[in-house]
Structure formats: C-alpha cells, structure tokens
C-alpha cells in the first residue's frame, strides 16, 4: 500500500466539505461517535439531513463562522492506498493556507459548481496548484444534480477550463462530473451520467500513477545531523544523517560535498535496520564517507557531474503570508533545506494577479496572500535547484527576524545571478 497526499480547494459553498465528508463516509473513514456529534449539531441547527460538511470544520471559530479557515488534515485508507487530505479554504484571503496545503500534495482537486461554471477563483485554485508544482490536477464539476446531469454543461466547463489551463504548467488534468451530495461518481460510477466514461473520483485517486513523480535523476542529500556515538565501539564513527531529497544513491558512488566541493565516495548507507546498497527518496538514512572530509548540517551531498547551483543570488516566486508586507530592501532569515542564512529582498520584479495572471511590474510591495517574483541575495551561499526540478531543494521559507514567524514561502525560478546581457544588447542600449 502506498501513500497519496492530495489537497482540495473550492470556493465557499462549492461543496468541498460535503465531498470530503462523503469520501470519508463512504470509505468508512468516519466513526460512529463523530457521526453522532455532527448529527446532534445538525439537529440543533435545524437541518433536515446530516451535514457531512461539519466533519471537516475543526476549530471553534470556524464552527461559529461556518467556514474553513485553516488547513486541516484528514486521513483515510482503502485497500489500495492511504490518503492524506490537506483540506484548504478557497477564499482569496486564505491563499496562504491553500499554498501551505498544496506544498506537499501529489494531486489537487479543484471544485467547480456546475451551475456557476468556471469562475475567477477556479483559475486561482488551478494556478496555485501549478505554482506549487502539484503534478496531478482533478477538476471535479460538482452539483451535477442541479443541472439535470446535463452533459452539455459539463462539456462547456471542461472546454473552458482546458483552454485556460493550457497557460499553466500542468500535465495531467482529469475532469470528473460529480454530485457530492448524492454521491454520483464519488466512490462509484453514476447511473445518472452514463455519458461519462471516465473513472469515479475515488477510483482515480486510488489509481493515479505517482511513482514516476519522484525525481530520481538529480542526486541530492541535505545533511541534517551528524551522528557521532563517541563510544569505544564506534570510535571514529561519523554518520551524516538526512532524508534523500531526490536521486538515487549507491554504495561506492563518487560524491561531492557542497559547498566545500570536497570529493569522496560513499562507504556505507546505513539505517537502524541495516545497510542499504541503494537508497532513494523519501528514505531517511545516514551516509558514511570513505575519506575524513568536514561535513556538517546544511551541507549537501551530490554527484560530481550533477550539482545544484551554489549561489548568493537568485529569483523566486514568493507567496506572502504575513500582515506586514514584503518590501524591497527588507531583510529576513531564509530556511532552505537544512541551511539557514540572512536574505535581502533586492528587487520585487512583479506582483501577479492570481485570478487573471496579469503581472504588475509597478508593484512595490507584496501584501498578505499576494504572490510575486522577487530577486533575493543571501549572506551565505545556498545550494539551489529550480523548484520545478525539486520541491525540496527549490523551496524555501522566509522568517521574520523579530517575531520569528514564517512570513513567506518561496519557489526558486532562477538560481544564480542574472545572465550577463550580450554585447549586442549592450550595444543596442
């Protein structure tokens, strides 16, 4: 059995909570006492039927306001897969929560209300999924019962969405017409929509092929912790512990330690359960090296012929997550893999309108929930890959130096300084 992490996004009342409630309910992920509690609440509120949506509203404030305002994690399993749902709110003022939920997802479900069609917010949800590098997208066209299960309505939505999504970097989009309330095409194929030949939502979640999403090419091992037993038995033992970010490591491989550039070979790949000949993501292991090279937390072990960029300068897309805006000239702490540094915002290239994808190059700050492209410089070099190659070595967070809170999430777009302008360009200018 393997693991699929997916996120869900939809606008208020699109039926996201009902859909998740139905998935949990039909896959027996809901327990009797939870059901009894939401039955009581539904009765107290005078609803005619049990509101499955109540299951996914965790905190008191949210229950009072009747909206989901933070990311909530849900779990269920079928005999084929274990699922982790990051249930995220859809309003524009919770973009940061959506980004958070999307950051670890293998798949995103974007809900569209069949009566309303593709709205601006559907664009935003798909854009965020693409920005965060989610490899698989599902567009669930919900409330099909309210449009008479009409194929034409569904086709129109599919066409419109596909045209727009062509602008995005998403390779796998599956459209599914559903009724979350009645269960059509959620777990089992709908009898009311025989014109639809595709899988039910759950079938798709169970079968979508994710093994090839892992990057097994670019070999990266950020060192987290050095294991030094300092006992007689393990006198000179030094295990460099961490989780493999991308790529496959083999015992005996020639490796380079960054940023020092020292070369050596992998002597052993160890785990508590014994040695491994090869190791791939997402395993946590410890590496023992042939030579005594100086390695510490924040360093990265790679292959000599395929290295990340060692640089102080780079450009990234940032989603801003704090009330106080990001401004040019501001300084933050940056955490990238297991390495931290100081970062200076040199330039805000543009702010992107998440609904229209319009770029505003005159922007001078990024407010809460806004997304833009910035140029950053750090006090010590980072070991960067582009985010589209690797979420682990291309993603970072910015931390406010006073509050110590996480204020921004970043995705590297270009590692290293701007390419020099060519002579022709200089001459033309």
């Amino acid at each position: 059995m393997d693991l699929l992490r997916f996120s869900t996004a939809g606008s208020v009342d699109d039926g996201k909570s009902t859909l998740i409630g139905r998935l949990l309910y039909d896959s027996k992920g809901i327990f009797e006492d939870q059901l009894a509690a939401i039955e009581r609440t539904s009765r107290r509120r005078g609803y005619s039927q049990v509101d499955l949506a109540l299951l996914t509203d965790g905190l008191r404030a949210e229950r009072e306001q009747g909206i989901t305002i933070d990311v909530a994690y849900r779990y269920f399993a079928t005999p084929r897969r274990k699922f982790i749902i990051a249930d995220t709110p859809g309003h524009v003022q919770y973009t940061r929560n959506m980004v958070t939920g999307a950051s670890t997802a293998d798949l995103a479900i974007v809900l569209v209300d069949a009566r309303k069609g593709v709205l601006e917010q559907s664009h935003r949800h798909a854009f965020i999924a693409a920005l965060l590098g989610i490899p698989h997208l599902v567009v669930a066209v919900n409330k099909m019962d309210l449009v008479g299960y009409d194929e034409a309505v569904y086709d129109r939505i599919q066409d419109e969405f596909s045209t727009w999504a062509a602008k995005l970097d998403v390779h796998d989009i599956q459209f599914i017409p559903i009724s979350a309330l009645h269960g059509d095409n959620v777990v089992t194929r709908s009898l009311a929509m025989t014109w639809y030949q595709g899988p039910s939502l759950l079938y798709h979640l169970e079968h979508v092929y994710i093994a090839s999403d892992r990057n097994l090419i670019d070999v990266r091992f950020p060192v987290q912790w050095v294991i030094r037993p300092q006992t007689d038995e393990h006198h000179d033992y030094r295990g460099y512990a961490g989780q493999i970010a991308t790529g496959v490591f083999k015992k005996g491989d020639e490796v380079v330690v960054l940023p020092s550039g020292k070369r050596t070979r992998i002597k052993r790949i160890e785990t508590f359960d014994g040695e491994l000949e090869t190791a791939a993501p997402p395993l946590s292991v410890s590496m023992l090296l042939e030579d005594e090279v100086d390695v510490s937390r924040g360093d990265m072990i790679c292959r000599p012929h395929n290295q990340p960029t060692v640089t102080n300068e780079f450009e990234a897309m940032i989603c801003w997550m704090a009330d106080a805006p990001l401004r040019e000239g501001a300084r933050y702490t940056i955490k990238h893999t297991t390495r931290s540094s100081k970062a200076l915002v040199e330039d805000l290239r543009y702010r992107i309108d998440v609904n229209t994808l319009h770029r505003d190059e005159s922007a001078t700050e990024l407010g809460l929930n806004e997304i833009g492209r910035v140029k950053l410089r750090t006090s010590s070099p980072l070991l960067l890959d582009e985010y589209r190659l690797s979420r682990t070595t291309g993603g970072f967070v910015l931390i406010d130096e006073t509050s110590q809170d996480t204020v921004g999430a970043g995705m590297v777009v270009r590692a290293g300084p701007e390419p020099e302008a060519s002579e022709a360009e200089v001459a033309a200018a």
Binding site: M1, D2, L3, F31, E32, D33, Q34, T41, G58, L59, R60, A61, D70, A72, Y73, R74, Y75, A77, R81, I84, R96, N97, T100, S103, T104, A211, R214, L216, Q224, W225, I227, P229, Q230, T231, E233, H234, Y237, G242, Q243, V248, T271, F272, D273, A280, P282, L283, S284, R297, M321, T333, T338, R391, T392, F396, V397, I399, S403, Q404, D405, T406
Partner: protein, 311 residues
Amino acid sequence: MIETAQMSERALTRGLTHLDALEAESVFIMREVAAEFERPVLLFSGGKDSIVLLRLAEKAFRPARFPFPIMHIDTGHNFPEVLEFRDRRVAELGERLIVASVQESIDKGRVSEEPGNPSRNRLQTTTLLDAILEHQFDSVFGGARRDEEKARAKERVFSLRDEFGQWEPKAQRPELWSLYNGRLRKGQHMRVFPISNWTEMDVWQYIEREGIEVPSIYFAHERDVFRRDNMWLSTGPFLPNGPDEAVERMVVRYRTVGDMTCTGAVSSTASNLADVIVEVAAARITERGATRADDAFSETAMEDRKREGYF
C-alpha cells in the same frame, strides 16, 4: 536507456509502503529538532504512540544515544503493567528517564484535586509546564496524531506554545514542505508531533511490522470493571465504584493508556497484534471516543485543554 531507468524505478518503488514513507518523515522531524533546539525532551506515557516515538528515535539517532532525555508525567494513577513496562523499556534502551509527578505538584500546593473528580488529567498540565521550566526544555516531543480529534487535525507538527504553555490556534505558523520553523522568542517553547500524519491503524501496523513490545493491557485480559459515563472503568484504590455501579468481571482490553481513572476499557477478545489490527479495522468508534471520559464533556473539550497547555 529508458528501459533501464524504468526498471530501476520499479525496483526502488517495490516494497516501499506507506509505513516507510511515514517513518522517513517522522525520523526527519526528530532530527530537525535535535539539530535546531538546545534542550529537547521526549514525553513518554507508556502508551503505544509514545512507544512508537521511542522506536523512531532509535531509527533517527542510533548507534549514538538519544540527544535528549525521556520524561514521564506520572499522575500517580498508573496501570502497574505500564510502569513496569516503562522501566524495562528505558533500561533496555539505556536512555535517561525523568519522572515528573502530579502527586508532588499536589503536595507542593501547585494544584489541587477537584472534589468529586478522580481524574488527574487536567492537573498534568501544571506538572508538565513546571517540569519544562525546571529543566529549561525548549522543545517537547509528543505522540499526538491528527486523526485523533478535530482540533488536532489543524495543529502543526511544530506547534508553538507561549510563556503560559498555551496553544493559539489562530496564530499558527504556516508549515510548508518539510521546512519546519523552530525559532523561539523568549519564554516560548515548541511541542513537536513527529507522528502527526499517522492514524491509529498505521501505529498498530508499524508495531506489528517492527515487532515492538507494548504493555499487556492493550491485549484482552480479565478485569473487574464497572460502567460509568458510558465506559468500562477498572476498579482500584483510586477509583472506587459508586453504590449503583455494579462490578463485573469481563474480558477487556485498552485502546489507549492513560490515567486509570478516566481511561475506559473496551470489551474485546483480541489477544495478539493481528487480532488488534482486525479489531481496529472494524472499529466504528474513535479511540478517544471509546476510551476517554475527559473528551466527552463538550464538543470542544480537547481544544479548550490544548489551549491551556495540555499535551
């Protein structure tokens, strides 16, 4: 070329299960804490979740010793089987155990027992916060899981506590990718939940896979119990049954391990791990719902206690 790549990928994927992925994530979290904090501690209750934490710590730090001590918040209302297990397990591991006692907090006048309420669950909070202060711990590993309860479904893996040990659900830090922010302001500390993404089923499957021993009360045994608040409670010196509460000898087991006075047994004949897993798969009541009197008070009981600094 392409063929080789596909073959090796299949070879590498085969055998990698959801438990391997969860374990790798939890080990990563524990190592982050070791690296980013000065004084971590691991809370150990004797229950299955904290037993799994100990195994994960072995996976993360062996052949070296754990870079932190283990701490038990002792309510004084323990199942004897669990205390015996705790001492044996800690000795096997060769690690350091700190016991912080609720009885001592009561004796010192830090807390007082509520008349008529035998449970010391609430009192534990003070003992825990006092111990954190006394030992200057800046980070505390706990075995909580997000599937346990709905307030927990939104709690971060790195969960910040203020000077009063309180959790502020509205002021949680965004937590993206595997980038955990361990920075603290003065007075704050971090609760860290490495098995946030595990379910009760995952925990049992892992215990079976790893061949980890758990206290005997998790398996079916005969016990004198009586019915209170819709639960089967064990009779004992801390918890006398009332005049209307008839004691019966039943075959039961526990799904969680906690304060004897508010942890209920379930009627069960599951006498080994395989049976327990079958039972968990078929269970239609959450483990907290079945066995924790303290959560039944109000729909938001857990959230309220967490805000006060509970585990």
